[in-house]
């Protein structure tokens, strides 16, 4: 059974009447693009200060963004049918590379996350952040929604296999993000609340055995440190104490661009990567944080809007999942830097320095744009 094309009576006729704009021909969602450009520009300003006025770092990040926008536009050109057609193969290939990482992977600091092919190094788990929701959405798109129990189980299996493989690398942050992106598809597909609440109860109930048997010592340490940073003032607690001090001392107005003492005087570790929000909060104050949150919120709302107006259940589920996953980045990163959540390696999306997450996120926004422009293409 093919995708059903939904016609909106009051809007559809207007769309039909109007010739397609350049943007829609290029599969570009203008509001989303503008918001992303505003966000990446803001991010570069913060990065310039956070990297200690290192223009090189800004140029490098700018290059990542350029690559990201190219991937976004390319990703937007691919039709949703093509994504669904590729979905099973992408998934199988992804799982295969994860297994390959397990045996041939390279890594650092006790984690095996990378695959080296020739001079090229890549992180299969990063690709899985997109592949897993695509696969689950593909699997459910043909089913009657809300999905029946057995389809839910198959979907869960699709999530658990790669998430489990990544967890043992070990990479808790990525594993959680991947699991979340797959589960968000299920959530948007409308699985019963009883599953959701049941899962929550199960999660709480399994916390104790997980603590005892699953978590590694360094992971336990991070949780303990979050709960009481003072217990390890010089070690792991140092990061959190310094980032909270940076945020708090910024106040409402901030200390001014490039004049944050915590960040400029090296008190703040990882100031240009995972902890960059602390630099922003210190230098631009709560005002700057509110501005950033507004941008994020508008992007999220645009994502939800695209989902609501998507023409196919695959597009809908993808839009919902991608948007919520983007939110998880924001929440986990901002929460951990402010000492609300344990420290996991999740960057502040499109602000933290680094190329990997930019590429993945931009590819995700490419799919989102493909969803947003799907309707008109089909109708045309």
């Amino acid at each position: 059974m093919g995708d059903y094309v939904r016609q909106m009576p009051h809007q559809g006729s207007a769309d039909l009447a109007r010739p397609p704009s350049t943007a829609s021909r290029l599969h570009i969602d203008i509001p989303l693009l503008l918001l992303l450009m505003a966000l990446t520009t803001y991010g570069l300003f913060v990065l310039y200060s956070a990297s200690g006025q290192n223009m090189g770092a800004v140029v490098r990040q700018g290059r990542y963004f350029a690559v990201g926008y190219v991937i976004l536009i390319l990703g937007a050109q691919v039709s949703l049918q093509r994504y669904t057609r590729w979905a099973p193969w992408l998934y199988l290939a992804g799982v295969a590379t994860l297994v390959a990482v397990m045996f041939f992977g390279v890594g650092a600091k006790g984690a095996q996350r990378w695959l080296q092919i020739g001079g090229f190094r890549f992180q299969p788990s990063e690709i899985m952040k997109l592949v897993v929701p695509i696969a689950v959405a593909w699997y459910l798109s043909d089913r009657i929604l809300p999905p029946r129990f057995k389809y839910v189980l198959v979907s869960l299996a699709l999530v658990v296999v790669p998430a489990g493989l990544i967890l043992q690398q070990p990479d808790l942050g990525t594993s959680l993000l991947i699991a979340a992106s797959g589960l968000f598809v299920l959530f948007m597909a409308g699985i019963g609340w009883r599953y959701i609440f049941g899962a929550m109860v199960l999660a709480v109930a399994s916390a104790w055995p997980a603590w005892m048997f699953v978590f590694k010592d360094y992971q336990k340490q991070r949780i303990l440190t979050m709960l009481n940073p003072e217990s390890d003032k010089l070690g792991a607690g140092w990061n959190i104490i310094q980032s909270k001090t940076a945020i708090g001392s910024g106040g409402w107005e901030g200390k001014g661009w490039m004049t944050g003492t915590q960040s400029q005087l090296d008190f703040l570790p990882e100031s240009h990567t995972d902890f960059i929000i602390a630099v922003l909060a210190e230098e631009f104050g709560l005002r700057g944080v509110l501005f950033l949150l507004s941008l994020y919120l508008l992007i999220l709302l645009r994502g939800f809007w695209i989902g609501l107006h998507a023409q196919t259940s695959f597009g809908r589920m993808m839009a919902g999942s991608l948007t919520l996953t983007f939110f998880v980045y924001i929440f986990v990163n901002m929460g951990m830097v402010a000492g609300l959540l344990p420290v996991v390696g999740v960057p502040l999306p499109l602000v933290s320095a680094g190329g990997t997450s930019v590429v993945t996120l931009m590819a995700g926004f490419g799919i989102l744009m493909a969803v947003s422009t799907e309707k008109r293409m089909v109708v045309h």
Partner: protein, 618 residues
């Protein structure tokens, strides 16, 4: 029951999706609300506290320890200065492999277990990125080795700080004292503010007595540092006030003459300027290298000093209490003249011994052992002093009584601390009936007066006290508290005169006559000192018994254990017409005064002429 074929219902799916979107947005908004609340609480509610924390992170109040005042001798020769000393410190956060670095450092420079132990203790109390000292006092060579290897040792730093240094070492050990690391008790007693950033304090001697002046006043600066503790800029600065430079009365040449003359013998020399009360030389041998104490002496070195039979840490000049022996005879003679009990012409018969009326015990004169008879059938005062006749003074002492003896001798400074500006001074003993009753709870026996009249028995004096007494003789009664300190920052220090000892001029002259005869007279006890002398020296020899000698027993120097030999003493001043130096000398177990007398000649020669050609008599 008929089977229904389930079909996708787009409207229903769309409705469910919309409901889920609403639920998702609700959750997103709620969680963003939590985030926002958290940032609001950090940045607005707790802003003040985090701002303070951030400032204290960044701004450090650094104490600026004052530079300790220097100490010079009267000629401007440096006796104590501050030298940059290099220490090896480690910043743990910057060291990639801590244990490997320590091992490597151990191969480069000597690091003992005790260094490591103290280092580990300091490591526990450090703040992040603080340099923790591992080794102090690096040698030139060690610094060079570390400099060459520095590129391989990130986080290892070599710091310089000013450390007290005594360029003269052992020569001035007892005259100056030393500084050492502040210990727990001192840290409790010292002003915490003034000593912030200072790690050393005067422990003993001049260094301790003038601690407050030498220390100066602490300064402060507010500095901005980065997380690594590196100072980026100074925000405010209150300069420290350096300690004042002290110039002492000590004369390095006189000190050296005394030190060299004592050689490897145990003893003390104090030379004093009778006009000012200034101490020209203060020597106690053996001494020790005070530099050892500055940064914490090793327990091996310390126990060697502490356990030595020669007690090098003991400052004999102010702590050593010896029977003054015959050196008190000029003062006794003065008491006789002033009390009217004797005149310069009155004589005492001397058979070589003295006997108290109604007592068969013979108090021997020292001459008896040598000549088998007394000094002369009748001995007058000049002869009694020149030849150190005991019998004359036994008789005088008996007639004077012990209490009046104490009364007459106390203005010379005996029996009381002189008040010299150094530490640990002892007061000696000037016995009297009251003293004996109070201290020993016993009554005074007449025989004890006899011993006391030649400076034996209970009587004890420090070399400092004898020097002060000699100075009183030399200045004909002028009394001053002796001082080591001569100038402060170039300003002379004037010591107020004490109430002078009032006496008849002709009585002083009579005493001088006897004391001059000691050196210049044919039968003077130190007449060999006159050889080649170009000035007139007044002196008095003394011998102090270390162990009692039984009645009729003969003291044979050769047979007595070295440490049981008599102490040799000598007091002298010169030039007799207008004395500018008074000395007191003791040579422990020297056998007799001849061990001490040549030292006086060398010291006085050096003071008067800058050097001494005098050779010890064979």
């Amino acid at each position: 029951m008929p089977q229904y074929i389930a079909l996708k219902d787009p409207n229903r799916e769309s409705r469910i999706y919309s409901a889920r979107t609403v639920a998702a947005i609700t959750v997103v908004l709620a969680l963003l609300g939590i985030i926002l609340t958290r940032y609001y609480s950090l940045q607005v509610t707790e802003f003040e506290s985090y701002r303070t924390q951030s400032d204290s992170n960044r701004v450090k109040l650094q104490p600026l320890p004052p530079k300790r005042g220097l100490i010079y001798d009267r000629n401007g020769v440096l006796l104590a200065d501050n030298r940059p000393s290099f220490s090896l410190s480690v910043i743990k956060e910057r060291v990639p492999d801590f244990d490997a670095t320590l091992t490597e450092l151990q191969q480069l420079v000597p690091i003992t277990e005790s260094h490591l132990e103290k280092f580990q203790q300091r490591l526990k109390r450090r703040r992040p990125y603080e340099a923790v000292p591992l080794r102090f006092r690096l040698t030139e060579e060690e610094r060079a080795i570390l400099a060459v290897n520095r590129f391989r040792l990130p986080g290892v730093v070599v710091d310089a700080q000013l450390l007290r240094h005594y360029p003269q070492g052992e020569l001035f050990s007892h005259a100056l004292g030393y500084v050492g690391r502040i210990n727990e008790r001192e840290a409790f007693e010292l002003d915490e503010t003034e000593y912030r950033g200072t790690f050393h304090v005067g422990k003993i001697g001049v260094e301790k007595f003038y601690e407050q002046m030498l220390h100066g006043a602490v300064g402060y600066q507010n500095v901005e540092t980065n997380a690594h503790g590196r100072v980026l800029r100074v925000l405010e600065r209150y300069s420290p006030k350096p300690g004042v430079d002290l110039t002492l009365h000590l004369d390095i040449e006189v000190q050296k003459a005394a030190f060299d003359a004592l050689g490897d013998r145990r003893g003390a020399v104090v030379a004093i300027d009778p006009l000012t009360g200034g101490i020209l030389a203060l020597v106690s041998t053996p001494g020790f290298d005070t530099n050892l104490f500055v940064n914490g002496i090793s327990s091996k070195d310390y126990s060697a000093l502490r356990d030595s039979l020669d007690v090098p840490l003991f400052n004999r000049a102010v702590q050593g209490q010896y029977p003054p022996g015959s050196t008190i005879k000029p003062m006794m003679a003065m008491a006789g003249l002033e009390s009217g009990l004797v005149t310069p012409e009155s004589t005492v018969p001397d058979p070589g011994w003295y006997r108290l009326p109604g007592d068969s015990h013979r108090y021997r004169d020292w001459i008896l052992r040598i000549r088998g008879t007394g000094h002369a059938p009748e001995v007058d005062m000049k002869m009694a002093i020149a030849e150190s006749c005991d019998t004359y003074f036994y008789d005088l002492g008996r007639r004077l009584t012990i209490d009046r003896m104490a009364e007459y001798l106390s203005p010379y400074g005996l029996g009381d601390r002189t008040g010299i500006d150094t530490t640990n001074e002892r007061q000696g003993v000037l016995p009297s009936k009251v003293w004996k009753r109070d201290t020993l709870g016993q009554t005074w026996y007449p025989g004890e007066t006899i011993s006391a009249s030649i400076g034996q028995g209970y009587m004890l004096a420090t070399p400092m006290q004898l020097a002060v007494a000699t100075s009183v003789l030399a200045s004909k009664g002028k009394r001053r508290v002796p001082r080591l300190l001569r100038e402060v920052n170039g300003e002379p220090v004037v010591v107020p005169e004490l109430e002078p000892l009032q006496a008849e001029q002709q009585n002083w002259d009579s005493i001088y006559e006897g004391m001059l005869e000691v050196v210049h007279g044919e039968r003077g006890t130190a007449n060999y000192l006159a050889k080649g002398i170009e000035y007139r020296m007044a002196g008095k020899t003394g011998t102090a018994q270390v162990i009692g000698i039984a009645q009729n027993a003969v003291y044979n120097e050769e047979e007595v254990n070295e440490r049981h030999r008599h102490h040799g003493l000598f007091i002298a001043f010169a030039p007799a017409e207008a004395p500018t130096i008074a000395v007191a000398i003791i040579v422990e177990n020297g056998g007799g005064s001849s061990a001490a007398t040549p030292i006086a000649r060398k010291v006085i020669d050096t003071w008067l002429f800058g050097s001494s050609q005098y050779k010890d008599p064979a």
